[in-house]
Each structure stands twice: as C-alpha cells, then as structure tokens.
Symmetry: D3
Subunit: 303 residues, 6 copies
C-alpha cells in the first residue's frame, strides 16, 4: 500500500534478501506503519519494526496459565484476546512466542493477479505461504488467518512444519484453518493449534497480508504480540502488558502453593482460605509467605 519503503529483513538461516515486500503485498506495512500500529511497545524492535519481546520474558511466560492472563487483560480493556475451539497438537506443552501474522482471503483471480504482479515487480515469482514462512525468526509463532477454512485451508504439511520448527526453534503455529500430514506432524515437538487436519494441499485462497492485524476467532492479533497457549486455548498479549502479566502470575503461583498447603492440613473449609484467608492471623501468615517467596523467585528472574 505504500510505494517507497524498503523492507530489508535479514533471514535467520540464510543470506537471501527479502525484497520490498510492502510493495508486493496488499496490506503488508512499512516499518513506519508497523511502528505506528504498535506504538505502545516498550521493547526493542526487529528491523521491520515488529516488537521484539525479550527472550527472557518469553521464557517466563511459559509458566503462565490462561487464567493468569485473564486476571490482567480484561481489567486493561483487552477483552477479546482469547481464542479457543482449536485442536491442540501437544496439550501438555505450553506455547509462548512472538506473533508473526499472515492473512489469507478467498481466491478471486483479479485479486490474485494484482498481488502476483506486485510480487513479480520486486522479484518474488509467486506470492504464497512459503514467502511468509521464509521470513520467520527464532522465537516466532506463525499466526495464520485462514477464516476457518479446512478443505484447502492447510497452511502446512509435515515438511514445512518441520522447517518452521527448525527456524523458529520450536516457536509454534496457530492457524484459524487446517494442517495436513497430521500423522507426520504428530511426531514433532513444536506446539500447534489448528481447527482440523485435512489431506488437501492449500488452495482456493490468496495470501493478502504479512504482519498485518489479523482475526483469529473473535480476537484481533497484532504482529509482535506475545502468543501464549495452553490446553484450553490461545491468548494474544500486547507487548505493553506482558511484564505485568508475568509479574502478577508469580503472585498467583505463590498463592496457589500456600492455599494447597493449607488445604493439605485438613483443618479448614475452602472459604476459610480461598479466595483470601479470612482470619487475620492467617492473612498475616500468607502475606509473609508471599513476600518471602516473591523474593526468592525474583532473585532467579532478575529483570
């Protein structure tokens, strides 16, 4: 949509230059646009402007649960950042990484022709899923809006899934659409969330945007969001709220520890202890426990 910006993305595993993609793509933002979209980002950015949540925070996020995200986001006005109803490849694994978004639309030849004409002008022979996949970075989660399409909505099979796993270093995949080669993929370790598996290759769609805001279920995802998934579903957390979420989660973990220790003693009704202790002495005991444990944890997780 913008005609002059040059997007020079260093590809992690090779030396190839991805050319001026914002010229080639219908909705792909320039670096200035990306910065404007994500103005509240408190962290560094990739060379294309996408927010780069620090690796250490992503690692801490792996200890979250969906409930701990929920404890912060709606209170900050972010009520639509959760998507569920997925099939989950490894429900016992947590997903945590930076959103790399891709948008598809139902194929129409005039739109496809426009997009491929633009692509050719910058040296990309044909705009397809691999153009986006080849731009992935370590720590990325590929987030794909395929508007729920299953037949022909298969973003990857086992070979490209393997490539993504290698390139993102086990980042992950969230697709509002399908995957193929489920049998082969099920032996790979990368977390993945998908609507269904289907044997058809991707078809009858056109790639309309890379790293644009996309819709997954009833959530809007921005490039650079922290993507967090557990057995229940997936959360998309704006970079500006990530630290608050993981800090609050530390307290929740300690609260859970203490609560269950008390339940194990077998002397209390649930309402004596939970949500918060009613007895002043217990309350004090809890607060001291919280303080001590937080200090221990924070020592191990220096900011």
């Amino acid at each position: 949509m913008k005609h002059r910006a040059v997007l020079a993305v260093g590809i992690c595993l090779g030396t190839v230059i991805v050319p001026v993609l914002s010229q080639a793509q219908l909705f792909t933002p320039t670096k200035e646009q990306m910065v404007e979209y994500t103005a509240q980002n408190p962290f560094e950015r990739f060379s294309d402007g996408r927010p780069k949540i620090p690796d250490a925070l992503i690692e801490r996020a792996r200890g979250l649960s969906a409930e701990e995200v929920w404890a912060v986001l709606p209170g900050q006005g972010f009520r639509n950042q959760y998507a569920d109803g997925f099939k989950v490849l490894h429900p016992e694994k947590k997903l945590a990484g930076r959103a790399f978004t891709v948008q598809f639309m139902p194929l129409r030849p005039d739109l496809e022709s426009l997009i491929n004409t633009r692509a050719k002008a910058v040296g990309i022979p044909r705009m397809n899923n691999q153009v986006a996949i080849d731009m992935l970075q370590p720590g990325d989660v590929l987030v794909v809006d395929l508007f729920g399409q299953v037949e022909g909505g298969t973003i990857v099979g086992d070979n490209l899934f393997y490539y993504i796993m290698k390139t993102t270093r086990n980042g992950g995949l969230v697709v509002d659409g399908a995957i193929r080669d489920l049998e082969g993929i099920s032996h790979m370790e990368m977390p993945a969330y998908y609507r269904d598996a289907h044997p058809t290759p991707i078809s009858n769609v056109v790639l309309s945007g890379i790293n644009v805001p996309v819709r997954i279920g009833k959530a809007t995802v921005m490039p650079g969001d922290l993507v967090f998934g557990d057995a229940e579903g997936v959360y998309f957390i704006p970079p500006a709220l990530v630290e608050q979420v993981v800090d609050k989660a530390d307290e929740t973990h300690i609260h859970d520890e203490w609560t269950r220790k008390k339940f194990d003693e077998g002397k209390y009704k649930s309402s004596d202890i939970y949500g918060s202790p009613k007895d002043p002495a217990l309350k004090r005991e809890y607060e001291e426990y919280l303080k001590k444990r937080l200090e221990e944890i924070r020592k191990n997780n220096p900011k």
Copy 2:
C-alpha cells in the same frame, strides 16, 4: 496507510467534505490504490476511484437469478463469489447495486486508540459506522464484514437503515453480522441480508477499513463489485463480468420461455426438450425463437 492523498468525496445529500479518510483509516485505499485494486474495471469511476457500473446495467441485473450468475462466473475462474445462509428481509425483492465495503475487527484498545488518533488528525471526532454510512451514494449496497458477530455486531437500527434507504435510493445492505430494530426495519422496502437480529447496539468492535477488499462468508468482495441478491443468497460480480452475465441471462430467459411453452404442449418428455432439444427440427425451432426474442429484448435494452 498512505499519507498524502486527499480523498474528496462529494456527498450526495449535502455539501460536507469528507476529509482525508485514507489518512485516518487503517486500511482505506487512496484513489491510486483503488484504481490498482480494480484495474480490470471497464466502466467509469467515482471520484475516489471506485468502479461505477452504469445504472442501466444495474437495472438489467435486477432480472437475474443466482443460477444465471453461476452460469458465467466459475467458468471465468471466480468460484467464490457466492454467500448464503443469510436471513433475508424481503426474499421476494431482488438486490442489485454497487458494493461499498466496510470492515470491522474485534476491539482492542491499542488499535482503537491508533485509529481514533488518526481520525482526529483529519477532523473526524470518532471513527464509527456513521463515518462510512455518511459516504454512501445512490445505487450503493453497504457490504459489511462484521465476522459473523451477532451480539454487538449490529451495523444499524431502524433510523440508520432508513437513512441508508434514502441515501442509496433503495440500494441495499449485506452484513456478515446483525441488525437491530428488526420490527421497525421490516416495514421498510430496502433489500437486506443479515445473519440475525439482536437488540444490542454495535459494540466491542473497531472500524478498520472502508472500501477495502472484505470477506463475506467464503467470498472476497471488492469495492465497486455488482452485488446481486435473490431469495437464495448473494453474488458479488466483478465489474468486468457484469455485461457478460446479463447478456447470457437474456438467453437463459428465452430458453426458459420456450422450454415451458413446449412442456405446456404436453407432447414431450423432459429430456426431449431440456437441457436442449434433441430433435433437429425442434432444435431449429428453438434457434429461430431465440434469435427473434433476443432481437426484441435488445431493442428495449440498447447498450
């Protein structure tokens, strides 16, 4: 997305100038972008670049059926231009007009703040559904992507529906979302296609694009498409194919006339006459009938 273009849209019912909307909107195209999106348009354009299928063709399109559109589009590679599953306000009325598209996304405060900051910079106090509605032209059909949301996905109630009816001169509405005030709306004559009615006002969404390509069901709609609807569903026809569709439909109408006349004679099995007559004499009879009737029709519909 583009920062310099000025979009001066003459509003039909007043004298107000819509300011530089492509600066204010996330995905709203400049005139140059609009022309590029719809490069195959054979007709004139509005001042913002949107294709303007001639009124006469729109009137002829009102005689179409969905099957007659289907008879042309897939053969030209356009297999996804049909959407159904709507509630239809007046199934006995045909819908025909030019697509004016609007896209919404699930609300997130950072995105909304970005959009409203941009809007204010060009003099629009708040970006909402009325900004788009105030841009409608006679002959337009408002096509709204609200990603199927019903509660809070109500694009208009009866007052704004009334305004659209007046402004578009009975153009029409297609919303992948909801309407409210169904009772009041049901007394108005404008054709409308919607997923459901709900008493909530529009909420929890953000307007992310005006006259951008949008998804309605499994169809991609471009601004300026001919929107055609009957009791079955809605077709979105690229301007470049409109003439071919209505010409082909003339033949189909004549074929139907002749076929039923023959069936009324009671002398034939269905397969003697339909799809096409098998007997050479009948075939000749049909071809002469077709030629004569086409001439009569074309006299009344000069190009």
Copy 3:
C-alpha cells in the same frame, strides 16, 4: 440386478417406451421384486408393480395433519416414518401423493461407468435425474435421497420443477438435498420440501436406484408409500395403513370441532373437556355428536 425382466412403463404424457430399466440400474427392482417389497399393499398396482393408492384416498389425505398420522403409525410399529428439518416451499399447502423414489450416491468413476454401460445397453444414453423424472405419473411425489448434499445436490431447477408439476398434476417433491432457481420455483404452486437452495447444477453424484427403498432423514421410504406433508414435516405412510389413518382423522376432526365449541361456551376448564369429557352427560353428548357427524362425513366420502 436382475437380467431378464422387461419393464414397460407407459409414460403419461407421451408415447415413448422406457426400456428395460431394471437391467440398466444398479438397484432398480423388477416388477416381481416390487411386488415382493410391497407385499402388504391392499390396492391396485402400476404396471411396474408399484402400489397405486386410489385417488380418492389421496384427496382425503390432504385433510390430514402430521399429528393425525402420528396417532396411528407408531401404534402399528412404524416409528420412523417422519422426517423434518426441511425448508418448505408453500407451508400453507398440504402435500399428498404416491412416493416415486430415487437414490443417488457420491460419484465414483468406476460406479458411474458401470451404470452408464448398463444404461447404454438398453438404449439410455446417460443415466441422470431426467431418466427418473420422465417416468413420473399423475399423483406422484418425487422422493429423492441425495444424502443431504446441498452444493451440487440440486435435483431440479425451475424448468424441470415446472415439468414435474405438469406431469404429476401438482404432486410434489421431497428431496434430502437441494433445489436451484428458488426464485423462479417460488412462483409455482406445487408443494416442495428441500434442505436448502443452491445455484450449482446437480453434479458429483451418480443415480444409483429408481423406486428402491430410500432413506430420507431417519425414515425409510418405499415406492408407493403415501407421502403426506404439512408445515411441520413429511410422513411416509405404508399403503396398508392409509385407510386407517384417514378414518381415524375423521374422528379427530369431529373431536376438535366439539372441543372448541365447548371451549367457546366458556363454562369449562380445559380438563373438563379435553382429552375426553369427564362428566358422563358430556361424554354422552360427545358420543352422539361424533356419531352424527361421522355419518354426515361418510356420506360425502363413500369408500
């Protein structure tokens, strides 16, 4: 499936001979098989063995309601003869006629090739929906098992619908699949029950049987069944039970008359009168009313 029988069906509107169809069709029964399938039929038969419920009974059946059929069938062990969930073309019209059944299966080329080879051997160029439609008789209801397929499951458009209407003299259509040209069809008077309308022509299926037992929803339909439909759904009544159903319905109609007359008097609670009057005097009154009215009705409907 049988190799020698010759099925000479006189076609009502023409003089063409339908050739040995039971040789051509995968599951089409011979006359002997048809008689065996429908051994309990108490009425005459068509020349191909299909039961021919008398026209007078069909006319009386038009006065039924679905509840009156239900009042008899389950008690006779027929618990699965009802199908609903259809779109109903003219909900205010009653459907009543003799089942002419057609079965389709998902296309596979080896099956299609087998069927068309057999068809050609008896002079039918290609086995398709019109082969069945050309066999319809006055009073028939075309009952089509298209296993719920909508896209490509369109048994007829408006031209063939018109033909069926003329040939069956407003018999009717029940399709566990779709129709096309809904707009055109909606102006025709014949009752029709269908899952949905779609613009595609029939495709990706193969005609596998004519006048075989078929499944419609969770009901098994035999050729020659009385097909009865009202605004709720469709009943398939074995010929042997038709008389019992319409006789019982006469009593129900009289019971309704009397019950509402009593309710109109405003002197009774519902339970005084309905299901049956509790007061002995009222009971006697009702029984006399029933007897008198039955005599009047039977005079007009001599068996």
Copy 4:
C-alpha cells in the same frame, strides 16, 4: 414444599377451586413465598401473590421494541432477560402479558410417583400440563421451561392452544420446547414462541413446578414478569422496571419520528442528526419537539 398454605385461585371461566397446589407440587410457592420472591413488585397482586402489572401498562408495552427494553434493563443490572432463537408464530404481532411459569424435568419414575402422590392428596388425579393451563388468567403469557426438548416436549396441540387463547384473551405462549398441530395453530391469532413443532404428544417429562423461577434460554423468568416479544425475540421485564421502560420508549419513539423527518428533508448527513443533533439550533429544535410530543402522548396515557 410448604405444608399448610391454601392457594385459592379463582378460575376466570368457571367456578372450580384449584386445591392446595403448593402441597401438591414439588416447587410451587405459597403466597408468602411468592411475595418474598417478587418483593420489589410495585403493583397489586393476584390472590396467589403473583404480581399483577396493570392492564393499561401492558397495553402500552405492546408499542415497545426489543431495543427499547434493552435501553433500560442492562443499565439496571438485568443483563440476562432476553431470549431468542425461537420460531415465531406471528412475527408481525407483538406479545405482551404477565408471566405464568411452568417447569418440567426429564421423567424419572420415583420423582413422578412422589409428585402424583402429593397431587392425589389434594384431589388432583394426575399432575400434567392441563393442571397449569386451567389456572391461567386473562392477560397471562404461559412461559414453559421444557429444557429445549422437541420430540415429546410439545406443551400443547391446537385444542389446548385454542383454550389458552380464549382463557388468556390472546395472551400468548413462550415455550423452550415444542408445540404440535402447527398447521391448526397457525390459523389462530395468539402470539407464540417455540423451538420447533413436532407431531408427538407431550411425554417422557414430569411437571415439577408452577409459578416458580424458570430458565428460558439464558434468561431467568419470575412469575409476574412482563413478557414482551417481537420479531427478534422475547424479553422478561421485572414489574419494578416496566414503567421506566415504557416511559423511556415514548421518548425513543419521538426521537425516531423527528430523526426521520430530518432525514426526509435530505439536507443532513446521518451524523448531523443521529444519535443526537450536533448543531445547537437543531438540538433546541429537537428538545422542543420532544417536550411537545411527550405532552400529547402523556395526555392520552394518564398514569
């Protein structure tokens, strides 16, 4: 549940005494309990304690739309009072009346035996739908929780529907379940909301409560609520809020009048006039119009 209270309900059309039903019923409240349930009711009560919204208010409520109810209820903390997804018998008619609630549960013989033993003890031979129906009063709407059951969940057929229409004087029916004899019922004028029609009689359920709080969809309905329905769905309005709702609706009607008059002038964009006029002169004009029209209306609707 309570053992001594005597519920003497005068039945409108007869002189029969409904015996001590709260003894017979599992959950049927005594008069004291009913008053406690509905303590905020500002109006008179029936002899069994059920709130009796005045007839005049009910008549005014017939002019409401679902949106006008929504404009008041959520702001008062009542966010769950709306139910939709019904089939609507006469979508062009408004439903307005006092809730008379009935609750059913899936049949289990021990529960049924308990209920019928209690019923017999107070002279009711068998507890069934007619026990409740015989208690209906003019102006009542029968609200039935049949937990969505369609087969066997048919609260009435055409005879009892007719009785309800006569007894409640066109009050109405809302059933989270089914009706039977749709064909016969469709000729009667009383508004009705139901999930589906089915030919089976009511069966496999047990009547567990009369005039208890019930669930309809995701709404809780209390006996004596104002039940309001239009083409969209049904609202259950607590008596304490009815006056506020209809008063606010008067203003909305006037606002609609004025808005459309302005739109008809063709001089304004929608946002100049709607939601509220922006120009101070227009604002004044509207306020004067509102005042004048309110006075006219209030003259005709004295409190």
Copy 5:
C-alpha cells in the same frame, strides 16, 4: 422455602456448623423434604436426609460399564438417567460416588438480592459456589447444573478442584458447564466431566439450590443418586436400583469372560456363542461356569 428446620451438617474436615441453609436457599430442602424426595432409598441417610449408599457398593460400582447400567435402568422405567457429550478429564478412570447436587440460574439482581438477604439472615455472608463446596463429604460427587454455560460458567479452578479432591477423597465432579485452570487440574487424579474449559471465573449466575433435583443434559439427578462415569458418559442411578445393577454386572462380567474364552478357541462363529450359546451342551457348560464364578465372586463381595 421452609422456615423452621435446622440443617446441622457435620463438615468432614472441620468443626464448623453450616447454619440453617434451607432457610437461606431458594430451593434447598429440609430433612423431611429430602426424605420425601428419596422415599425409595433402602440405605442409611446423612444427617440432612440425603441417602448414603454404602461405601462397599460404591467400590463394587467402580467395576461397572455404562452398558451394564443400561441393562437394568430402562427396564425399570428409568430411561433418562444417562448424560454424555462431556469432555472427560481422565477417560481411563471410573467415576463412582454419591450425588451432591447444586443448581445455578442466570443472574438477575432481584433474585440474587433475595437469596443473599436470606443467606445473611443465617450467617452466610454471600451465597456462592464455596458454600456448597464446603458441605461436601467423603465419597461425594459434585453434580452442578450450570445450564451448559461455558464463559462465566466455571464452577471451580485448580485450587477449589484440589479442595474437592481432598474433601471427597477423589470423589469427582460432573458439571453441565465449565471448569478453569485446566492445565493445573489435568495433573490431579480426581475424575471430572465438564462441557469445556474457559479462563473466566464464575460470574453472571446465581446459586439457586443445593441438593435439589437438577437437570444434567436430558437427565434428572436426585441428591444421593449413585453417579457412575466411564469414557462414554455419566449415569445417575437411584439408590433403590444400585444393588440390582452391580449384581447383574457380575453376571455380565462372567458372560464376557466365557464368551471370549470360547472365541479364543477359534472353533465357533460369533452367533454360536453370543448373545447366548445355541448348542444345548454349550449352554450347559456356560451355566455351570456362571454358577461357579458367581460363587467365587460373591465370596469376595459379601453383602
């Protein structure tokens, strides 16, 4: 609903007295009412009147399968005691315990206010899920009617799930609604059946009854029922039928043993052996085997 009874429930893990809950709750039964509801119970009762199926029978029930329950219940007129469509936490574990039922309704402020006023009057600050949870006993299964609500319908998260597991000694949970903290819960051993997991805390509902008859899917559950679950779904078995069910299951287990032994011999068609052996010698062999094995089993399971 009743004003005098005092419900003194000994809480297993503490010494706190649950006050007169039947005064506080809308539908909570008194001891007399509980006894009346469950009059056919052949076993002892808890101090609040709830039937107490003996521990030994519950242990035997853990060897059941859903089919073995089905083999007895419908024949006794209990056709609606089965619910399925749940997500199952540990499908490989069997659920067996005594039903402790809780009913919720959609929130309306007048109802909530009534309930909390009553609760305060007996010393409960606020009526919520923990009031019920604190009443659980060893061997109980918490059965919760949340009318299928998922968002906001989350009866417990991992802390309260842990408390229930400890208090009921691995009893179990069946909720026609949701749970939260699935990730944490999935590491705990207690069997649980739920519609879905969601990150929201419980909200927008009001607790309307404890140990009242509730609806789970299409089943009515009474307090004190034996709740049995396997990988297929959940059965609710009235105390009076428990012994018959487990006795009959012993025979089924022996029949399965013998049948498979015979199949392993490889000399028989399935119909020679199953449902029952046709050959008189085999029949005798089986009957002797049954008798011998029953004796062995009964020795280990003295009544």
Copy 6:
C-alpha cells in the same frame, strides 16, 4: 434380488456354510453381480467375487499417509473417497484392509418382515449384525453404513469387537454410527473409526445389504476397496489404484527424507528446497538420491 446363485463362503474360523445369502438379503449381490460391480479389479477374488487385494500390498499400504492417497486419487477422478469427523480408537495406529460393507436402514416393520421371511427361507433365523460379522475374513475391515445414528446405532460392543479382531486378525472397523462398551474396547488393539459411543444396544434399524456399495459420510465404498485410515480420517481406495498409490508414496517418503536432511543443514530457505529444489545442482542431487533410495526400497518390496 437374484434367485439362483449359491454363495458358499468358507468361514475362516469354522466349518459352517453360510447359505444362499443373496436370496435372503434385499441388496446382497450374487457373485456375477459382484464381479460386474468391481470389473476394474486387477487382483484375485474371494469365492463370492469380492476383490482380494494381495496381503503384501495391504502391508505396504500401512506406511501411507492420507496425503499420499490424496496425491493420486483426485487426479484419477476419484474425488469423494475420503471421510472424516470420526472418533478414532487408536489414532497412533494405521488402518489397512479390504472393505467388507454392511448397510442398515431405519426400521419399518414391513421391510423387516420381508427381509426375515427371505432369511428364514435359506435357514437364517433372523437377519442381524452377526450374520454379517460371521462372514468376515482375515484382512477385512468391517465398513458399516448406519446413516450416522448413535443411539441404537451401535454395531458392536466389546464381545463382538473382540470376535472381529480375532477373525480379521486386527483388520479394523469403520462405522458411520456408534459402538458400545467403549471402556472395554479401548483396551483392544484393533483400529476403529466411529461417530460416537453409546450404551444402547443396536435397535430400530434393519440390515438391508451385505457387500453392496455403501455411503460413509460423502464417500461411496465398494466391497473390496482398500480401506486406509490414519489420525485424520479414512480413505477408500479402488483396487485398481492401490499399486499406483503405494508406488507414488515411496517417492514421497524419499522426498521427505531428503527435504528434511536439507532443512537440517540450516543453509536454505524453505522455498529453495520445497516443493522441489530450484537450483539445478540441488535438483540433480535430489534426483540421484531418489533413484538410489527407490532401488533400495524396491529391493525390499519386490512386486
């Protein structure tokens, strides 16, 4: 349907003769008919005419994935041979075997009486699921069309499942319907695909055909098809295409090996290597690798 053929099926585990079943069954084919149905079969046949894909090919098919089948079938015109949406008993196991098909229809007493009369005439006391099960051969997969019925649509419980496992030597089961005794079945090793589990025994259906073409989802299955299933779904492959499918899959396996080896080197973008290498040197490298590996594989799998 045919009256003279004698179907002498040698039962694998016993010596019993299955009598003239094609006389007994509504749609069961004679040997001549079976040969005609499956005329393109390149392999040997069973004594009843059913194609017998060689054991060695079935073993090779166990290495397939659904995608590899898809790579061949649609290109040969077989676009409907895939069914999914099943619950899968052992998703980690592959299903491969010869289709033995069974068709059921909703029960109607006249049809059942006809079928059982025929059955008795040839010595079968009652036509039921065990008649079909007793005909199974080693390597068979039982494919059952129960039109999606779950309650009462339970083709087998654990005893008959065990029998099938023994008789077919772990062949498999695909049922468009249900199973019962899921708990018991889940410990058995045979692959199975079913819509759901339910405790009811099979009922309210009638067995209408053995080894006839059946519909499973949107696929037509012929007796003797290769049934292949993995974690995604089930494919039905005509015998004539089996060899082509497994040969092509060998190439795909090699291509996968090479592609991942290259990805592991970390020097390439995905599009350098996949779908096919773009660099001529890499292309050559791949072709040599393919040739060498194919030779190795073919040595181990001599035709």
